[in-house]
């Protein structure tokens, strides 16, 4: 037996063991009686045990180290890919367990400890080679393969109690020791994988490193850095080429979607990755100046809806999908109310000035928005659409009223859109002095409306009105599509040929800004319907204007655009005001319920209540608390200034 080595030695060992077993069984048979009665009476060790002990003390002790070495060398052979006799190993190891006589001490001390040591040595050597030679994906593939094999090994012939210890050692050697080296490999590390969209490798990376104690941290760091870099690059690009905002938004959305799928697919929805993504996109959204990210997204949505109408290229599902993505992105900007306000503005423009929009379409998009954001978001918008339907009915009945009462003719075609106050973002109309013709038709409509609705008050918003007027120019008559304001200016020239700036201003009763804007659109822009003296590009308070009878254009009907006032600031101001009211309401609600509350708690609850529409800043809340103290809704506790009381 001593001359044999390795596998043959083990075979011999197993054979001897079997012989011993047989012998001990026969002994038991022969001395059955003694075994049953004598031994128990004198409480001596049983015959079977004595056999085992004898075998252990006389035979096993002498060969134990040889057995162990043989097993380990066989395992090493298998690791290198050779075929070995697994059943043999299994039986040898079973013997070790059996010799332990119910305890694992023999297996653990004589074999397992040494096996683990060997494993550590083996893999640390392997890993040190691989890390130098292989790229990160290769290394990871190998590591994963090794881990798989070790696991199989345990299930094939090792005791299951070894699994945890073994895997821990292997993971430590393969993953933990070289963690940062693997992840940060220059041309193939995590960073490169993200750049090259190596989804599979990334998933593997997650699978491997989620086992090590802090393995994910490094990946998250790299992931964050990578995504931020891309996002910031996009923002920079957008700043350079400021014109193409839609492309930018589309790209940001795509970027977000891409990494979100990474997080869900490769990183198994791990919460830390979600957090990282959130933080990153917060940075990106902040990179775009506040408010403009909400505005950009709003106009993006608007354009999508418009596009889907004009060429039907986007199906309902596609719109829904895009909206969903937008909603996710918007959550990072935490300006949902601002977004709603911008979107409402766009919608109002579309509803009022762009009649081609299909009502069903608008409603279906609204339902989608409602599903995404909740009822508060679309409440006003739904009312707007309803208003428009009502207005259309109203217009129809107005027309039939005109037909049946020919004596009250307004003088020309008049379409009035009656809307309800409070739901539309429309600038309050300044008191424009309407030309006589228009005054008449306004009166006719008023009369009609009072007949139907006695107690309603009509406010005329001339700033949103449009007119088509005939310009009797010398070459030919041209139809001019203008706003009510522009028309009022032009109609002044029916009465006189030349008017000074101040005359126009007093006759119209408008502010200077407004008059300058109107006159500029009529005398300095593309269509010069009015001649200006002196003929310069800007409007001065001492200028004179006269009707340009020589004006002509190849089109029969032209639209004279009035440049939009930048309403962004106004929208932001409106939203800020809305927010103040929302904060006030929230504080009062909380305090009404709690009566007495600590400052910090009040702030926290307030933030929580409002978080679905926007993220109020602490200073803002403080300001509103102070405002409420001033208004005698709250008071500060006299002894504890951190505590507020509700004053009913």
């Amino acid at each position: 037996m001593r001359d044999k080595h390795d596998e043959f030695f083990l075979r011999e060992f197993v054979k001897r063991w079997t012989n011993q077993k047989v012998a001990s069984r026969w002994f038991s048979r022969f001395f059955y009686y003694l075994d049953r009665y004598h031994i128990i009476r004198w409480s001596l060790p049983s015959l079977k045990d004595v056999c085992l002990t004898n075998f252990r003390d006389l035979a096993y002790i002498k060969v134990s180290s040889k057995v162990r070495d043989a097993i380990i060398s066989l395992i090493d052979l298998e690791r290198e890919g050779e075929q070995i006799d697994r059943t043999l190993l299994k039986s040898v190891l079973d013997i070790l367990v059996e010799i332990g006589m119910g305890k694992m001490k023999c297996y653990e001390d004589d074999f397992e400890v040494h096996m683990l040591e060997d494993t550590v040595a083996y893999y640390s050597q392997k890993a040190s080679n691989w890390i130098l030679e292989d790229s990160c994906p290769d290394y990871m593939a190998k590591a994963e393969e090794c881990l798989k094999q070790e696991k199989e090994r345990v299930s094939h012939y090792l005791q299951s109690s070894s699994e945890q210890k073994l895997m821990k050692k292997v993971e430590h050697e393969l993953l933990f020791v070289y963690e940062s080296q693997v992840l940060e490999k220059e041309h193939s590390g995590c960073h490169a994988l993200l750049t090259d969209n190596k989804v599979e490798d990334l998933s593997r990376m997650y699978r491997l490193f989620c086992r090590t104690p802090r393995g994910l941290d490094t990946i998250i760091q790299i992931f964050k850095k990578h995504v931020t870099a891309e996002g910031v690059a996009l923002v920079k690009q957008a700043e350079v080429a400021a014109s193409d905002k839609k492309v930018f938004v589309r790209r940001v959305i795509e970027l977000h979607y891409k990494y979100l799928t990474y997080v869900t697919d490769c990183f198994m929805h791990h919460s830390l990755f979600h957090k990282a993504l959130k933080e990153t996109f917060e940075v990106v959204c902040k990179g775009i100046a506040r408010s403009s990210s909400a505005e950009l997204l709003a106009s993006f949505c608007d354009s999508i809806v418009k596009k889907s109408r004009s060429c039907e290229e986007l199906s309902d599902e596609a719109i829904e999908e895009i909206l969903e993505k937008v909603v996710k992105l918007l959550a990072y900007a935490s300006d949902e109310d601002l977004f709603a306000e911008f979107y409402r503005k766009k919608l109002a423009n579309r509803l009022l000035f762009d009649k081609s929009d299909n009502e069903d379409r608008v409603r279906s998009v609204l339902t989608k928005l409602k599903r995404q954001f909740g009822g508060w978001f679309t409440r006003k918008m739904e009312r707007m659409v309803t208003d428009l339907t009502l207005a259309r009915e109203n217009q129809a009945s107005f027309e039939s009223y005109l037909n049946s009462n020919p004596h009250v003719s307004p003088g020309f075609d008049l379409t009035v859109t009656v809307l309800s106050t409070g739901f539309w973002q429309i600038n309050k109309s300044i008191d424009l002095n309407l030309p006589a013709e228009m005054v008449k038709c306004v009166d006719v409509f008023k009369e009609f409306y009072q007949m139907k609705n006695k107690h309603r008050k009509l406010t005329w918003i001339h700033s949103s009105g449009t007119c088509i007027i005939n310009g009797n120019f010398e070459p030919k008559t041209t139809e001019l599509m203008v706003t009510t304001y522009q028309a009022s200016v032009l109609l002044l020239f029916n009465a006189s040929d030349s008017l000074s700036y101040s005359e126009i201003r007093t006759q119209l009763n408008l502010s200077d800004d407004e008059v300058v804007r109107l006159l500029h659109s009529l005398s300095c822009a593309k269509y010069k319907v009015l001649n200006k003296e002196p003929n310069t590009k800007t409007i001065g308070p001492n200028d004179y204007f006269e009707f340009n009878s020589k004006f002509t254009d190849r089109m029969r009907r032209i639209k004279i655009p009035l440049p939009h006032v930048d309403e962004k600031k106004k929208v932001i101001k409106d939203v800020d005001k809305e927010r103040q009211y929302a904060i006030d309401a929230s504080i009062v609600r909380i305090m009404k319920r709690r009566k007495v509350l600590d400052h910090q708690q009040l702030v926290m609850e307030c933030v929580e209540q409002l978080s679905r529409s926007f993220k109020p800043d602490f200073k803002g809340i403080k300001k509103r608390i102070e405002h409420l103290i001033n208004m005698d809704y709250l008071e500060r506790d006299k002894d504890k200034p951190n505590i507020f009381r509700y004053l009913a």
Binding site: K622, E626, I629, N630, P641
Partner: protein
């Protein structure tokens, strides 16, 4: 029963006390003194009163100030008003005048002068001072339903009321109030907040100031302004120090 009732009436009427006990004598004497004192107080009031309105008006107060030899912007005059619980700025009614001077036990100008320095000590005790401090703000509210005071008056008032105790804080805060544009007026809450600030915050390090606490926003902004100034200052002085050391 009858006797006691007459005795009681005797107390009320000091002239009818011919057969009264020594105690009564003493009492009547003291009550006589009180009456005398009240007479003198009223007399003093008459010397400053504006005949048409029946109150001491700003002119009268100025006269009073020069008689007791303090400036009319002196904190002691404000304390006197506090003691009188004067309602309207610049005016003392007879009732207020009696209330104040009786409490001070001052019926002549000389006594009043002495009493004023006593009063200063009394006010400086914590609960009194808190009351006085909030009174000072309310005293400046001249209009009906007015709740706040303009920055300029507040600066003056701060110097008068807190100047002696918290000079550095007051100076720095006044400097801030004059540079900022967010606030045009100060309300009661902010006013009381500043006293708490002076009492609680380490100055000028401000290291224990936490803006997450319920400090009025104006103090948050002030502290932010201070810290900015301090870091700027440090940055500016640091190179100089280096230059000296090399």
């Amino acid at each position: 029963m009858r006797r006691s009732s007459t005795r009681r009436s005797g107390q009320q009427n000091p002239t009818a006390s011919a057969n009264s006990t020594p105690v009564d004598l003493y009492r009547s004497a003291s009550s006589k003194a009180i009456i005398k004192e009240l007479e003198r107080i009223d007399h003093l009031f008459q010397s400053y009163v504006d005949k048409s309105s029946g109150m001491i008006d700003p002119e009268g107060i100025e006269q009073l100030c020069s008689d007791v030899e303090v400036d009319h912007t002196d904190v002691r005059i404000l304390m006197l008003a506090w003691k009188m619980k004067a309602e309207k700025q610049g005016y003392f009614t007879l009732e207020e005048w009696r209330r104040g001077l009786k409490a001070l036990r001052a019926d002549t100008i000389g006594k009043l002068k002495k009493a004023l320095s006593e009063l200063e000590k009394e006010v400086s005790k914590p609960p009194n001072f808190l009351d006085f401090y909030s009174y000072a703000f309310r005293y400046c509210l001249t209009e009906e339903k007015q709740k706040s005071i303009d920055i300029e008056s507040i600066c003056e008032l701060l110097v008068i009321v807190l100047g002696s105790q918290y000079m550095p804080q007051v100076n720095s805060f006044v400097a801030y109030l004059k540079t900022q544009n967010d606030y045009k007026v100060i309300n009661m809450d902010q006013w009381m907040g500043f006293l708490r600030f002076c009492q609680e915050a380490n100055f000028p390090s401000l290291d224990n100031y936490d803006p997450d606490e319920a400090w009025p926003l104006i103090l948050d902004n002030y502290v932010e302004w201070m810290r900015e100034k301090q870091s700027l200052h440090q940055r500016r002085t640091l190179p100089k120090l280096l230059w000296i050391s090399t």
